[in-house]
């Protein structure tokens, strides 16, 4: 029996990765780096630039948190649901703020899905039934490399047996001629927009039979959608930042559903970002930027805002790298507060942190659950077990308080 692994590299969570004779099979380039290079650039336990043992680093972190008034816990998008639960409990115990990358990524789309404002479906149903699939502001070729071959356009599905050229209709919406747009050939369409809201507006108008800037395109898409019992819009970061108002997009999807079944699945993000959103939602009813002190979520509690407005004195950063990913005006504030980094890697943020606690690579050295972009829960079995993982570390800090 062949052993298959789940790749934690992105929210596709491909579950068919094999390692045979030292070769990593079927994983994309990003997945190959996860499995093939997990021993590189590992973090070492550090306190104020000096190497210590792990227990001392955990102790130092615990003491720092005890001494702090205003704490934010941030990240956890690449770790397991089990670790996220510990992180959330820790935030509750500390009366802290908690947030992840989704607050400037696709969190609001996930929230709309969990609140049942956006109708959604699974990637298996997309494969088996979807006819029209719209990639809007997403370039899966680079961001979710196997998305189209594994789940959407290319595979043959139970009710779509004839392959992409006959049984699918691909729409790519982007501000540029992305690689994915080049795949829109026969039975397909590329719409190069400069303003995403104009296309949203066009869909509204076309349903009502009115003239609009993209009336022709929207009309063709709508007619395609009417042919199928399942159509899907995959929205990426380009959509998130192209829209002035998410509400209008949500209304648009509702409007489309008056004439054809159209579902939404977010297309982007880290392996378990949706897991963070769902885990926090189950606990407090919000997906991110939550303040346990205030008992609510709000824009002002986003990690980036807390940093920018100097509202926190300590940040516990788990498995994410804000120095790498946040605008400089925000990340530059990290130098002014106490930072504790829990990460398997010596990340850019770890290099400036006061305390570094090395952890396990989730999915490779630690098992657990992650949530795919469509909400399907996937169980991960590690290649090898590493005792000091995120669950261990977060639990130990919690007990030490």
């Amino acid at each position: 029996m062949k052993m298959s692994f789940v790749c934690p590299g992105c929210s596709c969570l491909c579950d068919d990765i094999e390692i045979v004779d030292g070769k990593i099979l079927h994983a994309c380039r990003r997945g190959e780096e996860i499995f093939g290079k997990y021993k590189e650039n590992r973090a070492k336990p550090m306190v104020k630039g000096k190497e210590v043992d792990v227990d001392s680093a955990i102790e130092e972190a615990t003491e720092a948190l005890k001494d702090s008034e205003n704490i934010a816990i941030y990240g956890m998008d690449t770790t397991t649901v089990e670790a996220q639960q510990h992180g959330i409990e820790l935030a509750e115990k500390l009366n802290a703020y908690i947030d992840d990358n989704s607050s400037f990524c696709l969190g609001e789309f996930v929230e709309a899905i969990l609140r049942k404002e956006l109708p959604t479906t699974t990637l298996e149903d997309v494969r088996d039934r979807a006819y029209v699939m719209v990639y809007w502001g997403a370039n899966p070729f680079h961001s979710l490399s196997r998305h189209m071959s594994r789940y959407s356009y290319y595979p043959r599905g139970a009710k779509r047996p004839r392959g992409y050229e006959e049984d699918r209709f691909l729409v790519v919406v982007d501000v540029r001629r992305s690689e994915t747009s080049k795949l829109a050939k026969k039975n397909a369409m590329f719409i190069q927009v400069s303003d995403d809201d104009e296309l949203v507006d066009s869909f509204f108008k076309v349903v009502d039979g009115k003239a609009a800037k993209y009336a022709k395109e929207a009309g063709i898409i709508l007619n395609g959608m009417k042919k199928s019992d399942l159509n899907v819009i995959f929205g990426g970061l380009g959509l998130k930042y192209g829209l002035k108002d998410l509400g209008k997009f949500v209304e648009m999807v509702k409007k489309l559903n008056e004439v054809a079944p159209v579902y939404f699945i977010p297309a982007g993000f880290h392996g378990n970002m949706r897991g963070f959103n769902e885990t926090l939602f189950e606990k407090v009813g919000y997906v991110n930027k939550y303040s346990f002190r205030d008992g609510k979520s709000g824009g002002e509690f986003a990690f980036t805002e807390l940093l920018k407005n100097e509202k926190i004195d300590t940040a516990l950063i788990v498995g994410t790298d804000p120095v790498y990913s946040l605008p400089f005006e925000v990340s530059s504030k990290l130098g002014k507060i106490k930072t504790i980094v829990v990460d398997p890697r010596m990340s850019f943020t770890a290099r400036i942190a006061d305390v570094v606690i090395p952890s396990a690579v989730s999915g490779v050295e630690a098992g657990g659950t992650m949530v795919r972009s469509d909400g399907v829960r996937v169980k991960l079995e590690p290649l090898e077990e590493r005792e000091v993982n995120d669950v261990y570390i977060l639990n130990k800090i919690k007990e030490g308080l």
């Binding site: 079927h26 994983a27 789940y151 290319y154 392959g163 994915t180």
Partner: protein, 156 residues
């Protein structure tokens, strides 16, 4: 990038001397491209000094042929993200691996034409390709669905 027989023909002696066994230089050019003939079989090109410049050009031009597989397929791994489009769209794979590649999963058969290994596509068994052998067809499905030209064919 693509080679065509006319460009090759233009650099041959164009004397139709038949020393290579072909009736015409044009036919020799075609067979060079299909790798049924080797350039060294054109004797005048190597014996007559006046063809030296043309010979060098031809050698340069035909270099990719040596790197290409028997069907003319060339893979540039540095352009490949391992998306797997080529593996999943291949009609041979779809037929032979209905529960694997055909439905989007990592290919399960032992001797696929293409497989993603270590993050990039690798040629495993070119003999199974529809472009190979006597009844070959000029299938280009894998190339058509590679947006970065990581997969190319000699003829373009």
């Amino acid at each position: 990038m693509a080679l065509n027989p006319m460009d090759i023909y233009k650099l041959l002696p164009k004397t139709n001397c038949k020393k290579c066994g072909e009736a015409t230089c044009m036919s020799f050019a075609f067979k060079l491209l299909n790798r049924e003939r080797r350039l060294e079989e054109c004797i005048p090109l190597y014996e007559d000094k006046k063809y030296e410049r043309q010979r060098k050009k031809l050698e340069e031009m035909l270099k990719p042929l040596e790197e290409a597989t028997e069907t003319g397929l060339i893979v540039d791994e540095s352009l490949c993200t391992g998306c797997g489009n080529c593996v999943v769209v291949c009609p041979v794979h779809v037929e032979k691996d209905p529960k694997g590649a055909a439905v989007g999963k990592g290919i399960t058969i032992d001797d696929p034409i293409l497989r993603v290994e270590d993050g990039a596509v690798k040629v495993i068994n070119m003999q199974a390709c529809r472009r190979y052998g006597k009844n070959r067809v000029l299938c280009v499905v894998c190339r058509e669905n590679c947006p970065t030209d990581a997969i190319r064919f000699l003829e373009g």
